[in-house]
Structure formats: C-alpha cells, structure tokens
Amino acid sequence: MAYTRHKPRTAPDSEELRRTIPGWGVDLNKEDRPSYPKEKVEDTGAHWEFPDRQPELRPRERSTEHKFLPPVFGTAQPLGGLSGAIRRYAYRFSEARTAHWLLLLAGDRVDVIESRFAAMLEGRPDNPITETGVLSEFRNGAYRTRFGQHRADLKHQPIDLVLWAAPYLAIAGGTYLLAKGIKGRR
C-alpha cells in the first residue's frame, strides 16, 4: 500500500500478461520506441535548407509572433466582409492576448450571419434539417442509444435544442414586435 515503501501490486505478473495479452511487451524497451529520444535529428525527406516561397497572391494575415509570412500557407476562405475586418483586427494582437482569440470567435459568429444572407441571395439558402443531419436520429435508434445507457451527455443535450432554436425565436420575436409596432402607429 501507499503508506509503506513497497509498491502495492495490483497487476498480474509479466509472464501471465505475455501469455494472455496479444503483443504484450513488444515495445517494452523505452529506448527503442519511436520518438525516442525526444528531439532526434533524422532524415525528413526535405531537399532544401529553406523552402521555396509560395507566391502571396493576396495579402495574407499572420500572427504577430511570426517574423515574416511563412513560406507555405493555406489559401482557403480569404478574409472578406465585416467578419474579415474583425479577424484582421484580431491579428493585431499576439496569440498570448485573450482579445486575439475572443475577436476571432466573434468574427466566426458574424461570418455565419453574413453567410446565411449571402446563401439566400445566391439562391441556395441554408437548410436547417439537412445541414444538421438531424434526420439520422430516426434511422439510428435515437431513443435506444441514449436512454438506459448511463450517458453523461443527456444532462446537457437539451441545451443544444435551445442554442439551435434561439436565432429563429429571436427573428420570430423581432418580426412580431416590429409588425405590432407598425400596426400600432397606423
């Protein structure tokens, strides 16, 4: 036990484990495991001292903690609109600043709103049924796999419904109040 110098033995001995667990101990030697030692110089396949630079075809935002734009970068979803302005501003703060990450999260939420309107204008509006995949509930034992299974997530799953419905309720409520206000003035 923990109160004397001897380590309590709660495990079977190694011979029994070798006999009963497939592959037991094949990587027992710590010094013969991959990633050992921690910072081992190895042949990486790179045949350059510093990589060629990918052309920067449009201004690319970067962390203030980088000395320069790294030679290779993703070009998916360039900054644009109000969300882009928020994100561009966020990149004025270092990664150490909470403001940096909170502004990026704010930009993400604004991006979603902007994209909803853009999709409607493009004639391909978002479909809350197909995009949430909620129809899979009916084919995959929604009740059976949730209840009587001791799952901890059942306690907070109703919050998902509230978060999903909140924007629609807000729009419906706002529209109702607006209509009521207009009617009241007439």
Binding site: W24, S35, E42, E65, T98, N140, D153
Partner: protein
Amino acid sequence: MRAMVYRGPGRIRVEEKDIPSIEHPNDAIVRVTCAAICGSDLHLYHGMIPDLRVGHTFGHEFVGVVHEVGPSVQHLKVGDRVLVPFNISCGSCFFCARGLYGNCHNVNPNATAIGGIYGYSHSAGGYDGGQAEFVRVPFADVGPSKIPEWMDEEDAVMLTDACPTGYFGAQLGEIREGDVVVVFGAGPVGLFAAKSSWLMGAGRVIVVDHVDYRLDFARTFAHAETVNFTQVNDIVQWVKETTEFLGADVCIEAVGSEADGAFFQHVTSAKLKLQGGSPVALNWCIDSVRKGGTVSVVGAFGPLFSAVKFGDAMNKGLTIRTNQCPVKRQWPRLFEHVKNGVLKPSAIVTHRIPLDDIAEGYHLMSNKLDGCTKPLVIPTS
C-alpha cells in the same frame, strides 16, 4: 469537385468547389479515396476552434491517389497510392529537423503555437481538408508515404492520426513494466492508447468513459478493464481504491475539449465557448495519478484558457507530457505492428458513409448514435 463545407456550429453541407491547384513547387494534389471523421473534428463542428470560416472543408485523416505533382516533387509520382499524416510539415525548420513534425514553423501563418493541420481552421493554417474528392498536400516529399502493397486501405487511413496518436499517448506516458495505466476516453484515440499501453509493458490498463458500447468494445479490442464514471460515486476515489490508494502510475487524457462528467465545465466550454476546452478528464488525470506519476495529454484543446487544477499537478510533482503526434515518426514501427498482426487499426471502424451523406455522419458521431465509434467517409467519384 464535391466537398464537405462548414456552414456554422452544428451545420455542414456538401458543395461543388474548384479542384485545388499546385500553389507551391512541392505541392501534390491527391484524389481522396477514403477519409475519416475524427473526434477532434467535432470540436470544429461545434464551433469551438477560433478562426473557423464558413466554407471550410474539414478532414485531416485521408488516403488517396496522387493526381498531380509540383515541379520539385521527387519522391511521389502521379498514380501513387498514399497515406497522408494529419500534420503539414516542411521537414527543414528547427522543429521538423528534430522530428517534431506536429510543430512545424513554416506552414502556419495564423499561429505559432500550432503547426499546420489539414482542414482544421485558419488557426491551423487555413488549409482545406480531405473530406472532399481532392485535396492539396503541401510538402509532398516530406509528409505522405506510399501505401505498401500488403496494407489495407482502411488500416492506412487509421494510420494518418487515430492510431499513431493513441500509440504516441502511451509513449508520452513513459510506461514501465507493470505500470497501472488509466486511459480517460474510449473513443478511437483512447482505444489505441489502451492497446498500445500493453505493447509497452503495462501491468493493468483501465479505460474510463460514460458510453457503455465503447467500454464494451474496449474490453474486447484493447483487453482493458473498464469503468463507466457515471456508475461510480467518484472516479478519482475509484482509481485510488483500485490501486491500494497509491494512484495510477500513468494517466492518459484522450478526450479533449468536450469532456463530459462535470456539467459546469462542459457547458462553459462546449456550449458557451468560455474555455478553450472542458478540462474534466484532464483534472481527473491529475487527481488520479500517483505523486511523481506521469500525465499524458493527447486530447485536443482550443487556444483559450481552461480551468485546470494546476496546483494539484504542482504539489504532486507530476510530469505532464503532451503534443500533437508527429505521425511520420511513428510510422515505421506501426507499419511493422500492422504487418505482423500486432495491431489491426481498421477494427475500430463502425460506419462507412458516402460523402454526400456526411451531415448525417457528423450528427451520428456527435450524438453517439447507432454504436458509432469511427465513421469513414467515402467520396462518390
């Protein structure tokens, strides 16, 4: 091409996108033949990772066929079947040169704390991922490897993240012969961490989760003892009792941002995004491990702060080891284990979903419906 795109928290759809093009001389374009949804994709799906832009294509676990190569590519040619590690790495920066492929400094302009990852937001470099028909693969001479003739495609796709990360989690634990290892999380990474702990000589392997079907699988696949934390009064107390009040020698956190088990922690992080991730499982690791023990963290957390019980970690003299798995460094040994039958990574695959039905696949995985542990995504072309 057809590609999965993010439309907002909890919402995705499949759209037509342009086939990616060569943007750097060492790029390759890969036609994806099989991809997977990772548990860490759910953190994106739930809107927890900052700078996640609408239109982004997820997917950092994929295999495929080389469709096009840039002028400086020497090690791959069109038609090669390849598996691609989830890390994007240049092979020549300070970190890559030391084998830290998950910490490359030359591929992510948006953050220095994170390397480049396919389809994992702009915080991980702004690269579209592999849940699509085609994907751009930077540094084709460094990351990808040809799939050996003898290797099954589903084994190969599991070797791009889940299996190496689980193995790496066990390795970070610095397991010694006879150690008691507790793995928190019975998802794909936790299952591989449990299985790998035996390979490194663990004396007992205990898997903790709250989903019964995953614990059932952990008993057969990983030969582990299991405990459902909702069925014991206090999981930390339970670990202490089963180890004669010493505590586990090694605890492995294989859950990440959306850990369940403490309502306030989960809701403030997963629902309200006020923390970088729910530290429930991490705190359980810190409290369950013995003094002087090791906590290995391979669960993914966002960049914001989390309410971690660091005082306990300090007072107990713990070693906390963590990193994004340097996948390529694990491959030679893992290829050997797969070839010799020591590991069968594809055994954890539960669902195969056409790309066009991917929204339902995410809902299935997120809500743990129909016994879902690991869904594969099959592009339609």
